[in-house]
């Protein structure tokens, strides 16, 4: 409906203002009808004449001809050609498929005749705070917003609507600020409050509600294309809810918007960045990520960066920079080179084009929740206390340790014991015959690690004359086998992780070549990062330089539900040809990455008594550490050993706790920086000139002193000189309340975007927002406190015809609720809503089989239970390729890419959804139950209660009559119990057993009727 009613153009609405104005009236015509050829990218079409700059447009075309002669329309080629009757002469040419309307031709003529005054594109001129205009009906004005609105109405000869009644008002503002309707008690309190600031009190209460942050997050998640899966083909799960919760929290603690923006763009690069600031950068990791088998990773690495640029520019700049990916922008002054200069800011991320099939992809960080942080802090405190307690015994320890040293006679070793998975010692001298190229040691239950685990592998080796073959492994016994292993490859230490040869594997090898026939200690640590950078190789205690041969591991060994049960092998695992020849001893496998001191002990190879025999002054720190550890573990008095054990237990506990931390993907800077090239025609495999990071020339330069990197870009974005950020932001909030932005094209403030319906109002709001210190709550309050917002939304047919989209704002907003609010409202009025904030996404009811029938590997939707069924909709698990149907049916953004414009359609699928989806059938039953339990004794009272519960106001007599008739019909209809039983069984929550079931079924049906009312699903 909205689409077919948009006949009246804005320019007609504002035509009465008088005179043609370039930005408002002329540029849109030139942009839409001329710039494809005569615009910023004219050169690409070999068109010499440009209409996008004043100098070019008014230049001499040769032969004394001018496109535009100021004040002389008849002599101007622009007027002649656009008005030409001969098709061969007429512009735009027939071949373009574009035509000018008679009124557009007239506008161009009028503009030239009036002197062809040119203006810079409005949105690139910094906003200047206009004074609030004088109006006749000054009494109506509650905020400066109203003065602007009223001025226009008065000019149009219109009057604002009366203020909405209180019931309507509190429902409107509660939905707008919290996404939930007011409770009857809240309505009553407001109705009874006769104080002059009663409404303001409501607004303040709502802004303080934790529900406010959730509501504000709705649209931010759409803009940030937040989802719980990777998208593309396999569409596996990822974990980004810590970022989502950061957003909710940021709105609730009213983080100033400039910081909100800066932290999301470059929080990681701030000095001493907090966990919160790092998590915020998940914004630019929310894009889709491809894990498909056969892709060319470089191609997708480029797509991710392009997505960041497109999203960042749409959300923060209202700019369609993405249009300059393949060529100069056709309409706006952005060159292709500038696109790649902005691209460069977001390209320097140490990431891979192929994402992890399951879980998050690097770069990512552990992101403990507040309770987890508290638990960690408590553990650390205990740990410090235990360490301090131990330190108090230092004098005694030193003495007692010395006593113990003297008693050491036989050679004994100490190596780390904490998190030891496997140890194998063979006696250092007697093994030469064991590893002869055929024999190996098999440990079926050892080292059961997969690619996301972290661990340490270590051994002493002595090869025969050919230092080659497998040292230890857990992999299918062939060179391309699935699993991991440490091998010698012609003397180099070679580490591999293979899920699928050769596109799903990591291979690194040392530069160093080990000498044959000599003992070496080798240790390999792996951080679980699934990238080569997570592998460190030590030889004889030294961290070795490694060469990365392959670095694309993305599927676990247990991929697709397979069991990975290769044994841990010592001396084998690289195929029969490459069994180890020589000696292997002191194999140690740990379930964590050892710290430096521990690693050093492994490489020390000195027995405790050897160290003890050295004079104390000659012992190294590592030697002291080994001695002390050996003493504490084996010889210290029980009280001290207990302390030592406690310390170890705390460390274990800490590691276990850390393993439960959710992670979040974040931005990070690659070192050394990655070069960026202009991509010819936008193709990843056609690099052109190298470019340096930079901002578009049409916008202000980086602030002085700002570094030319992503942090500098963020500082530039929020700098006062940026003409766009505040305008774009206030406009998006405006859209939230009034359904349409002051600039309707909220994503495009460029020359193809729509001229603002009220430029002064937009600029006043933008400057006010900055003046307030980017105070988001204050901005919301400013809007909802306005008389404009508080108008009744009733409309006459005449007014509807004059202003179908309500751009003049002679009435209050009335439009269907967004998808999340429809469901949340139903849960709320039913009394089912679970109010828990944040946490992992949940899986409420969904029709069976939706995932399975089109996803891979029988990936199925496993519905949650209990509280999970009743959480707010922003916590519903969002699988990109199969989005929740009850959200998509109601025009939710699909979370594939950034969406900032709100759209609303009106379809029969919505009707079916609300009538028949178990979510709403169950909610209706609870509404029925509430009517019976809380609504009073008579049917009339109960129906009135239910109607008010759902709509926020009492029914009219006529409405009440319809409801009563409906109730009677349903009482009659549910006269047989099988129908009642079937109907009441919907949903997992049980009805109150004390209630009469037939009556409950009838009231539940009326509850459903209430949920399906137009006014229930509409903000009025």
């Amino acid at each position: 409906m909205r689409y077919c009613l948009a006949f009246l153009t804005l320019s007609r609405l504002v035509a009465a203002v008088g005179g043609v104005e370039f930005n408002r009236d002329v540029r849109p015509i030139l942009s839409d009808k001329c710039y494809v050829c005569h615009g910023p990218d004219a050169a690409a079409k070999h068109v010499p004449f440009r209409l996008d700059s004043e100098a070019a447009a008014k230049s001499d075309l040769g032969g004394g001809r001018h496109a535009i002669i100021e004040g002389n329309a008849d002599a101007s080629e622009l007027v002649k050609r656009t008005g030409a009757t001969k098709p061969a002469l007429r512009m735009p040419p027939v071949s373009s498929g574009l035509t000018l309307s008679a009124s557009e031709i007239a506008t161009l003529r009028e503009w030239v005749a009036e002197g062809a005054k040119w203006q810079k594109h409005w949105s690139f001129i910094p906003p200047v705070r206009p004074p609030a205009p004088a109006v006749k009906n000054a009494a109506w004005v509650r905020t400066p917003v109203d003065a602007f609105v009223l001025q226009k109405l008065e000019r149009e000869g219109l009057k604002p609507s009366a203020e909405a009644n209180r019931e309507m008002l509190i429902r409107r503002v509660s939905l707008d600020l919290t996404g939930l309707p007011p409770t009857p008690a809240e309505i009553d309190a407001f109705l009874l409050d006769r104080s002059p600031n009663a409404y303001e009190k409501v607004v303040d209460r709502l802004l303080q509600s934790p529900r406010y942050g959730e509501r504000m997050a709705f649209r931010w998640l759409d803009a940030a294309r937040y989802a719980d899966t990777n998208g593309y083909q396999f569409d596996g799960e990822r974990v980004m809810w810590r970022w989502r919760d950061w957003v909710i929290d940021a709105f609730n603690r009213n983080l100033p918007f400039d910081q909100f923006a800066r932290d999301q763009i470059a929080g990681d690069m701030l000095p001493n960045a907090t966990l919160e600031q790092q998590m915020a950068t998940g914004f630019n990791r929310n894009h889709r990520a491809n894990t498909e088998d056969g892709i060319i990773p470089e191609e997708y690495a480029v797509e991710y960066v392009i997505d960041r640029v497109e999203t960042t520019s749409a959300v923060f700049l209202g700019a369609t920079l993405g249009c300059a990916r393949c060529h100069n922008h056709k309409y706006d002054p952005f060159t292709q080179k500038e696109f790649y200069q902005v691209f460069a800011y977001f390209n320097n991320v140490p990431e891979q084009g192929r994402a992890m099939k399951y879980g998050n992809s690097e770069p990512m960080i552990p992101a403990p929740t507040k309770p987890q942080q508290a638990a960690l802090a408590a553990l650390d405190q205990k740990y410090r206390a235990a360490e301090n307690a131990l330190a108090k015994h230092e004098a005694f320890l030193a003495k007692d340790e010395k006593r113990w040293e003297h008693g050491l006679a036989a050679p004994a070793y100490w190596t780390p014991t904490r998190d030891l998975d496997t140890a194998a010692s063979f006696g250092r001298t007697s093994l030469a015959s064991v590893f002869d190229g055929k024999v190996f040691v098999n440990r079926p239950s050892a080292a059961k690690f997969d690619i996301e685990d972290h661990f340490t592998l270590s051994a002493w080796i002595y090869s025969d004359e050919t230092p080659d073959g497998s040292v230890m492994s857990r992999m299918a016994d062939n060179p391309k086998g699935k699993g991991f292993g440490v091998h010698l490859d012609h003397g180099k230490v070679h580490v591999n992780f293979t899920s699928n040869w050769v596109d799903d594997a990591i291979r690194v090898e040392t530069e160093r070549v080990l000498a044959p026939k000599a003992w070496h200690q080798i240790t390999v640590t792996y951080t679980g990062s699934r990238m080569a950078e997570g592998i460190h190789v030590y030889v004889d205690g030294h961290l070795e330089k490694t060469k990365v041969l392959l670095d694309s591991l993305y599927r676990p060994f247990r991929n697709a539900g397979k069991v990975f049960d290769e044994p841990f092998r010592i001396g084998a695992g690289w195929g029969r040809e490459r069994r180890f020849r020589g000696r292997i001893d002191e194999v140690r496998v740990y379930r964590r990455v050892l710290d430096d001191k521990e690693l050093a002990v492994l490489a020390l190879g000195e027995s405790l008594n050897e160290i003890a025999s050295k004079p104390a002054a000659q012992r190294s720190a590592v030697e002291n550490f080994e001695l002390r550890s050996g003493y504490l573990e084996t010889a210290a008095p029980a009280t001290i050993r207990n302390l030592s054990d406690e310390i170890n237990a705390l460390l274990d506990e800490r590691a276990k706790l850390e393993a439960t931390f959710p992670t979040v993907m974040v931005m990070a800077e690659a070192n050394p920086p990655k070069p960026t090239f202009l991509l010819v025609r936008g193709a990843y495999d056609h690099p052109g000139d190298k470019v340096t990071p930079g901002v578009p020339a049409v916008l202000p330069p980086l602030p002085s002193g700002a570094p030319n990197n992503r942090l500098g870009f963020a500082e530039w974005l929020i700098a006062p000189a940026n003409p766009l950020l505040a305008r774009v932001t206030v406009n998006r909030f405006w859209q939230m309340y009034f359904g349409v932005g002051i600039v309707k094209t909220v994503e495009d403030f460029g020359s193809q975007g729509e001229w603002p319906s009220d430029p002064e109002l937009l600029d006043w709001l933008a400057t006010e927002f900055v003046r307030s210190g980017w105070d988001v709550k204050a901005l919301q309050k400013l809007m909802v406190m306005s008389a404009t917002y508080r108008q009744s939304s009733e409309v006459t047919p005449e007014m509807l015809q004059r202003d179908p989209e309500n751009r003049l704002l002679a009435r209050g907003p009335r439009f269907r609720l967004p998808a999340e609010m429809i469901r949340d409202q139903a849960l709320s009025v039913a009394g089912l809503l679970a109010e828990k904030i944040g946490g992992p996404s949940v899986k409420p009811y969904q029709p069976e089989g939706l995932w399975k029938e089109i996803s891979m590997q029988d990936m199925d939707y496993v519905q949650g239970h209990g509280e999970d069924l009743y959480r707010r909709s922003l916590y519903t698990f969002w699988k990109r390729t199969i989005a929740p149907p009850e959200m998509i049916n109601f025009d939710s953004a699909n979370r594939e890419a950034c969406v900032v414009r709100e759209t609303r359609t009106n379809t029969p699928l919505q009707a079916l959804n609300l009538m028949n989806d178990v979510t709403y059938v169950e909610a209706a039953r609870f509404i029925g139950q509430r009517m019976m339990k809380e609504g009073g004794a008579s049917a009339e009272d109960r129906l009135r209660f239910g109607f008010r519960l759902v709509t926020g106001h009492w029914p009219s007599q006529k409405e009440q009559d319809v409801l009563l008739a409906s109730l009677r019909f349903h009482l009659d209809y549910f006269s047989d119990s099988p129908k009642v039983d079937a109907y009441l069984k919907q949903g997992e929550s049980l009805p109150d057993p004390k209630l009469d079931r037939r009556q409950l079924a009838a009231y539940a049906s009326v509850g459903s009727l209430l949920l399906n009312l137009d006014e229930s699903m509409t903000k009025e």
Binding site: M1, S31, I296, S855, E896, L1009
Partner: protein, 478 residues
Amino acid sequence: MDPLEQSKLLMTRRHFFGRTSVGLGAAALTTLLGGDAEAAGGLPGLPNFPPTAKRVIYLFQHGAPSQLDLFDYKPGLQAHRGTELPDSIRMGQRLTGMTAYQAKFPTAPSLFKFAQHGESGAWLSELLPYTSKVADDLCIIRSLQTEAINHDPAVTFFQTGFQIAGRPSIGAWISYGLGAESQDLPAFVVMVSQGLGNSQALADRQWGSGFLPTKFQGVKFRAGADPVLYLSNPPGYSDDARKRFLADLTKMNELTYQEYQDPEVSTRISQYEMAFRMQHSVPELTDLSKEPASTFEMYGPDSRTPGTYAANCILARRLAERGVRFIQLFHRGWDQHNNLPKEIRQQCRQTDQPSAALIQDLKQRGMLQDTLVIWGGEFGRTVYSQGTLTEDNYGRDHHPRCFSVWMAGGGIKPGVTYGETDDYSYNVTKDPMDVHDLHATILRCLGVDHTKLTFKFQGRHFRLTDVHGNVIRPILTA
């Protein structure tokens, strides 16, 4: 619709539920999915030409069938069996990550016999005995090309004209441009069936509306109790109760309309009426029990099992009969990287007979002339074997540079084979056709100039064919 007209209409309408049981006036029932003139009649000015097709049935073979084993006969390959694919043919073509590291690229001729069929003498594989019988109705295109080499981007490219998701699907474009023909059913319906081979993931966005309003998205019909999501009333709630419920709801909403005069309310009323009609029209449509036995014989034994490709083909015909504009079937399981001979046999057993039956069925009902049928996948498969080539086994990787589809009816020349490939079915040698061309040609059959079907989004006038696309006139009857 003019809001004043709309309000008059509301005042004078005779209600569907309530006083009379006479159906709604046609004027109020402009469309199913939009409730306004735009969605019903499509865009003003469309169609641009007299259409040769009123509707499209697109049989999407998901996973990419091998052209070498079905349509693109290369007898000369037997002589090169097992030999390395010549560089002169490969010409540095990029390969997927799955075979890029393969050391050898042994030529794998098809194991299957080909023969000529019909008066047109079209070459078809023994895997397609039924399709062979309707060869004279088909236009086989051997020279299709795509830019994508992986499933998701390739399907996205076919569906939206662009490899990266976000643009409207072809069905959404068509329902936006031409609107719905049916009063009771959506303009764009999708059905998915499961194959027996290696299946790739699909996504709802493949029939999504992208930046077009969501009312233009494809509605997925599913096998089972709820062919359309949330179609059935809750257990215990009868059709009569629903009718009464809707009568009461309409009364309530009319009171709201009187108060606010918002035309959205009257649209909402008609959408609920439409929902009720769908509750009847969809089960009637998907209930195959009244089809004669001859139908099931024609479409094959699978066709009695709901949710199969064969059953979906019957549904496609029934949807076409009821005026659904764009009907798209997706059949999964064509991704035969390994064990191709075995898997393709199974896959053809599922699809050959019903695909051919659909052509035959439409023809005997006189509907083929204005129904465009398309059969094909998202790319082709390589002539070289993925994995080891043996006597009776081979696999084929993705191949974007040439592959085959067929089109029939709706203004497409029958009995034609269009386009040629080289001796290895590796490169197109004559009459190349790309995905944009296919789109332009489909739109042309529907009477739409592909350069005129645009939607302004983010400042740009977007098209299905972007800035590309040529109508392939030699395959058109007019």
